[in-house]
């Protein structure tokens, strides 16, 4: 068994599309089930790493420790869900071709433990994301894709710059060796490397001054694909960034700077959503806000906070999948994602799903978001950072304002259309809602795993 299968199988499935063009959707489900099987197989063998070709400082290394396992399984879970959810879409082969490449890019990004492979998979995941944005093949979609590509190209330039500087000064590519040698470098170069990595990954993890493109991209992307961007893509980049950061053992002021940026990011994004008139953009802003929270929590270097952040990543993925997929159903019926369209649909089922998603994102019990938020806040309290606790709560209130504005609008407006949710979609969405409720009531098992993962993340990459 090799970790390479995680990357090779989905990409092969895409490239062999001509052989089973009309059945790719089934193949995608199979591929994801297979990957889930692999993940289950590796679970008892954690942590492990795999060298390919050369020896240590130059080799290609894949590493599967607790924290990357967390992300791998999250990713596979989401993609499996996505492919099952869209299994009835006969004429949408293109989506599956690209999502499979997307899967392999993102899994590669998570598993790689040397910076050059990280760059390659960073690009693969990005390219598939560009294509996914342009999938609607209309003016809006192309406009979004072009914007995405310009910004993405800038991001990869900075990432490349950082990688080159590291190689020039150290002569290594593997993360663990770089981590060991990083502090022998000149202080100025260290700063420049960190800065380039921060800008490169900051654009992709959608952090404050680098995230002004995001809302437009979400608006241009097909709604279901936007769910993937929000639920998994940005988190893969987030994970890799912090994996590198903790491996390089950056000093406290740098982490504090990231915390501040995360907090600011949270505040500005939530504030922007207040007046927005497009539900898809509102969800995009909310994603930005949550990523801000994740950023600030992950940069705390505290096990409790980081475990809470990992929990939040899972909860946020589930909630955003629910919200975007439901919004997709609304959009299909109402032909718009504007707030007026959102206010006009009638469907008790979808309303419940939206309500559960919102409440969970706001961190309101008994849903899982509460556990995540509580863990993060508890961690900050034990660090004595009460200012952050207060800020998070205050900004969450802004978040509550616009989420409930949507619910109120739907409750009290004239209904123009009744949405009948197909059975498959109903079952899938209910499963997500139940998962949120279950995790909210019985979080302990997952929290324990998150604690292990958090310890691994803070420790940085080391070879077993």
């Amino acid at each position: 068994m090799s970790l390479v299968y995680f990357i090779a199988i989905p990409i092969l499935a895409s490239f062999l599309t001509p052989f089973y063009k009309n059945y790719l959707r089934f193949v995608s489900v199979l591929v994801n089930i297979l990957l889930a099987g692999f993940a289950a197989f590796f679970y008892s063998r954690l942590p492990l790493n795999e060298f390919i070709s050369l020896d240590s400082p130059l080799s290609i290394i894949f590493i599967l420790d607790y924290v990357s396992f967390f992300f791998v399984s999250l990713f596979i879970g989401v993609m499996l869900f996505f492919s099952l959810y869209s299994i009835k879409e006969k004429n949408n082969t293109a989506v599956f071709v690209v999502t499979n490449i997307f899967t392999s890019g993102a899994l590669g990004l998570i598993l790689s433990a040397d910076i050059f492979n990280i760059y390659i998979f960073f690009e693969i995941a990005s390219i598939s994301a560009y294509i996914l944005t342009g999938l609607n093949r209309d003016k809006v979609a192309y406009s979004g894709a072009i914007k995405y590509m310009i910004v993405g190209a800038v991001a990869s330039i900075f990432l490349l710059l950082g990688i080159m500087l590291m190689y020039l000064n150290l002569g290594y590519l593997t993360l663990s060796s770089i981590g060991a040698g990083f502090h022998t470098m000149d202080k100025g170069i260290q700063y420049l490397v960190l800065l380039s990595l921060f800008i490169g990954f900051g654009i992709k993890t959608e952090i404050l001054p680098l995230n002004f493109w995001v809302a437009d991209i979400y608006q241009a992307t097909p709604t279901k694909i936007a769910a993937l961007f929000s639920a998994v893509l940005s988190k893969a980049y987030l994970f890799v960034f912090f994996h590198i950061l903790y491996t390089l053992k950056v000093d406290a002021p740098a982490l504090l700077f990231l915390t501040a940026i995360g907090l600011l990011s949270f505040a500005v994004a939530e504030l922007s959503a207040l007046r927005s008139k497009d539900v898809k953009r509102i969800f995009a802003y909310s994603t930005l806000g949550q990523l801000g929270v994740l950023f600030l929590a992950l940069s705390s270097a505290n096990v409790v906070v980081v475990s809470g952040a990992l929990f939040l990543i899972l909860v946020h993925s589930i909630s955003k999948l629910m919200l975007f997929f439901s919004l997709d159903l609304v959009e299909k019926k109402m032909h718009s994602t504007r707030v007026e369209a959102f206010a006009g649909f009638r469907s008790a089922f979808l309303f419940t799903i939206f309500a559960i998603g919102f409440l969970s994102l706001l961190g309101i019990p008994p849903f899982a978001g509460f556990i995540a938020k509580l863990t993060i806040l508890k961690g900050f309290a034990s660090m004595g950072a009460y200012g952050i606790v207060g800020a998070i709560l205050a900004i969450s209130l802004v978040e509550a304002t616009y989420f409930f504005r949507l619910l109120s609008a739907n409750q009290r407006s004239k209904k123009t259309a009744e949405i009948k949710v197909p059975l498959l979609q109903k079952i899938m969405l209910s499963l997500l809602a139940l998962a949120i409720l279950y995790l909210g009531l019985f979080p302990q098992g997952l929290l324990d795993f998150c604690t292990d993962a958090a310890q691994t993340l803070i420790q940085g990459v080391i070879h077993v």
């Binding site: 504030l271 009460y386 619910l407």
Partner: protein, 540 residues
């Protein structure tokens, strides 16, 4: 995650909840939602029986959002927004306080919390955050902004729940946290002083707003704010007798508001009218409802001989005993003014000429409306007659939070060493006088002249037109605004303040939103500029 324990305090509040829910179960309502009401009930149980702060918070939040969905069936968007922003805000300050307590004491469990080693600044911060939560839930000024609209626009049955039970969760949490968990020796006296005055000012202002109100349910909502204001004031004295007074008033107010809201709901149900200016003259149509209303308002105004007097008596005694003369004067002022709005309920609905010509066509009130009303009336009359009967229960609660029990001298007597009264004697005397007056009027009745129709009244030789509002109480209360102070109270409202806050955030949002529509090229510029700035900072 959920930890519960059964306490005397929890029992009392849960008992009230059960009585209210069970009696309301009989009331007809077209917005029945079994799921939401069960959730609400469960969350209340969760709050009252919690043994750690997290359980309390979970209950608090579930109560908040399940109420939201219940209100959402009838209220308009703005009311809903007000409700949810204030209540979620209140819940988040509670969470903030809980996290602070966790940071200070390292635990969430009530019995493990020890504040002896916590710096006083931190205790003060915790106190203020908790007070904000309680103020929002109980509608203390200036956080009462959501209360009136939510109470008046929710469906009639849920208004009763909101006023009778949900406003009391603030009182419960106050007692739980400040009497049992943090305890008085760690609290700052100035804060308590401020709380006392906020409570009493709230009650004064709300009373005058109520007097000026034309809509029955809004009047009751203001009245509810005023009554909870008393409870908060008296609680902030933090004494044995004052706790007893607060508990007593909580019980009384629960049943008074249950009775009155359902009473008004019954009238609204049959007449479809919400305003006093379109009601009136229903006395002979609905005499039983009228009698029950009278029982309710006598208690609400705190007049002898019914239950309301018992609790007001305790409040006055407690204030006097602590030498809080000014507070007592303020409470008395507000309490006396309350007569005006109480009377408005009577004449606005039942007395005078009917404004609406179709009064005769109103259907009968369904009997099911009387279940909660009679429950409330029976309890109020009982507590007027034998006011001492629930003192042993209060003593149990006082004991459980570590206070001296108050004097108990049999079921008829209520009070302390300082002052007491015998409920049996009072009700006997009042009953006698009442019977005498009743007999007098029954004799007079034969001589009174009945009008032929509602326009059969002439004044100054003119015959009124059909569209003239003939209700003699029409517009009553407006004259009050000639008094400078009252005019000032009535003309001010927190609306402008909160509106300004809302506009401010809206404008900020408009500005930040612009950022998110930058073109790709400007985005590139931002990125390179950010890079350069950071580079420059790093080099320095």
């Amino acid at each position: 995650m959920f930890n519960f324990e059964i306490t005397a305090l929890g029992n009392m509040f849960f008992g009230l909840t059960v009585l209210v829910f069970v009696s309301l179960f009989f009331v007809p309502n077209k917005h029945r939602s079994v799921t939401l009401y069960s959730l609400l009930f469960a969350s209340l149980a969760c709050i009252f029986y919690a043994s750690d702060l997290i359980t309390l918070f979970i209950g608090w939040e579930i109560m908040g959002w399940s109420s939201y969905f219940l209100i959402a069936k009838t209220a308009d968007k703005q009311t809903l927004q007000k409700y949810i922003v204030f209540n979620i805000g209140g819940a988040f300050t509670l969470l903030g306080a809980i996290i602070l307590i966790y940071g200070a004491c390292g635990s969430f469990v009530y019995s493990e919390l020890d504040f002896s080693a916590v710096p006083s600044g931190q205790v003060t911060a915790i106190t203020i955050l908790l007070l904000l939560t309680l103020f929002v839930k109980s509608g203390i000024m200036p956080f009462h902004y959501w209360v009136v609209d939510s109470y008046s626009q929710s469906n009639d049955l849920f208004s009763a729940v909101l006023s009778a039970i949900i406003s009391k969760t603030g009182v419960f949490a106050f007692i739980l946290i400040f009497f049992q968990i943090i305890t008085v020796q760690y609290l700052q006296t100035p804060i308590l002083e401020v709380v006392a005055w906020l409570g009493v000012l709230t009650s004064i202002i709300a009373t005058f707003k109520a007097i000026n109100e034309d809509e029955a349910k809004r009047l009751l909502a203001y009245s509810s704010i005023a009554q909870v204001g008393y409870i908060v004031t008296i609680l902030s004295i933090m004494g044995s007798l004052s706790l007893e007074a607060a508990l007593y008033h909580t019980v009384i107010h629960t049943f008074v508001k249950l009775l009155l809201f359902i009473n008004v709901a019954a009238i609204i149900y049959v007449s479809k009218q919400h305003r006093f200016s379109t009601l009136g003259g229903l006395l002979y149509k609905y005499p039983l409802n009228f009698i029950l209303l009278v029982v309710g308002i006598i208690s609400l105004a705190g007049m002898p001989p019914l239950g309301g007097f018992s609790s007001k008596f305790l409040i006055y005694t407690a204030l006097l005993e602590e030498h809080k003369g000014l507070l007592l004067a303020a409470v008395l002022f507000s309490s006396a003014s309350a007569f005006l709005y109480c009377y408005k309920l009577v004449y606005g609905i039942y007395l005078g000429q009917p404004t609406n010509p179709k009064t005769e066509a109103y259907p009968r009130i369904p009997l099911r409306f009387y279940v909660p009303q009679i429950l409330g009336a029976v309890i109020l009359i009982t507590l007027g007659t034998i006011p001492g009967v629930i003192v042993p229960m209060f003593n149990g609660i006082l004991g459980s939070v570590g206070f001296e029990p108050v004097l108990y001298r049999g079921v008829f007597v209520l009070g302390s060493d300082f002052a007491s009264f015998n409920g049996g004697v009072v009700i006997g005397a009042f009953g006698l006088i009442f019977v005498l007056i009743l007999l007098f009027f029954v004799r007079l009745k034969n001589r009174s002249v009945k009008p032929k129709d509602r326009l059969d009244i002439s004044y100054c030789g003119e015959v009124p037109r059909a569209d003239v509002n003939l209700h003699y109480g029409y517009g009553m209360g407006r004259e009050l605004s000639r008094i400078g102070l009252i005019k000032m109270i009535l003309s001010r409202s927190s609306h402008a303040l909160w509106q300004r806050v809302s506009t401010l955030f809206g404008d900020l949002s408009g500005i930040t939103q612009k950022l998110y529509t930058l073109s790709a090229q400007n985005m590139g510029l931002v990125i390179f500029a950010f890079f350069t700035i950071l580079l420059y900072m790093g080099v320095k």
